[in-house]
Symmetry: D2
Subunit: 115 residues, 4 copies
């Protein structure tokens, strides 16, 4: 089993072996995350309706690769900024729980400002 | 301690309580991840040199919030597509280890195609 | 009628009156363009099938505003780098005309590498 | 000289010769614009300080190509939605002129909400 701590240790070790920390300011790391997220989205470009799920299945390995690239930057940025990702997510869920009360938000994709 | 499994269970439970699975096709989830990644990058817009790290410190809570939003989509997409994020990341590190051999890639930000 | 030259003169005059040229390095201008493009895409988040065109109609003013923001950065970057946008587009169309021959590309959304 | 009308006619003719209008819903066009904007930003990934302008010069043709790709989608979306780009930009400048009064915004990169 891999904890966030173990995975973070792996990506940091990979980076340190290449002495890449010197390039990893948070702006360029965020920029890199944006570009990888774009590569994930590109998989679904021009796909609509039933093609969307079919594409996710047909290109499952590509999806996994892009998710991994995004996860890599997420772990590195969190590590560099001393942010506990699990805690940040748990806190955010608590905030969203108030913004999107289950009874009001049920079955609608509207923004909290329109509930 | 929170494992990826625990965190995934939390974001899925949040979604299920709102019956939002019906909206969560992988294209719109990827699109949402791109938009959240953009919000992270926006924190560093117009910041350069020493301002970059100073901004990361001054807006640490905003950075944590955006990382959490990105993590949320990452976990949901992986869950929906039956992708083991920890395995995907470990596999990707192995691939990158061959693309960027530590001795050749040390101290350079060049792409593997230019090493 | 407004030529690209006239419109460029307008956005440059707006910038100069605020002495913002000092912030406009091409990296941050490109970053700003990415963020504005994200705002355009956000209009269509969670919209699928017939909702897509309906949303474009219902939020036509928002679409126009985002296109204007993108156009603003496009004109500024081209101006700052001494790039003739009309020529760049004409050149690109010529390149794409060879990459996507009309007889092979007709009616398919495949990439040129798959034609 | 090329007006926006002439350039729009060119990109629409290119599309029509390939019968691609059927794929060009505004969501996928906006998505494509986001991806092209990402390719522009990628040129400046890991570049900082003096390297930013030096990169813009060294890769001027790449910058021109990406601006052309972005411009292509901008013109197509505006055309499809019946939006006059020149008017939209002029209107937006008028709005920004009120949001960022020259005397208050001079020499600062702050958002209008912080002026």
């Amino acid at each position: 089993m891999s904890s966030l701590q173990d995975l973070t240790a792996k990506v940091v070790a990979f980076r340190d072996a290449r002495e890449w920390k010197q390039f990893h300011n948070p702006k360029d790391c965020a920029l890199s995350l944006v570009l990888e997220a774009g590569e994930l989205l590109e998989i679904f470009q021009w796909k609509n309706g039933d093609e969307i799920d079919a594409t996710a299945v047909a290109r499952r390995q590509d999806v996994a690769d892009e998710l991994a690239d995004i996860f890599n930057w997420l772990l590195l940025i969190a590590h560099d900024q001393g942010i506990d990702l699990a805690q940040a997510l748990t806190d955010k869920i608590a905030v969203n729980d108030r913004k999107y009360p289950a009874d009001k938000a049920k079955g609608t994709s509207r923004k909290y400002t329109e509930l």
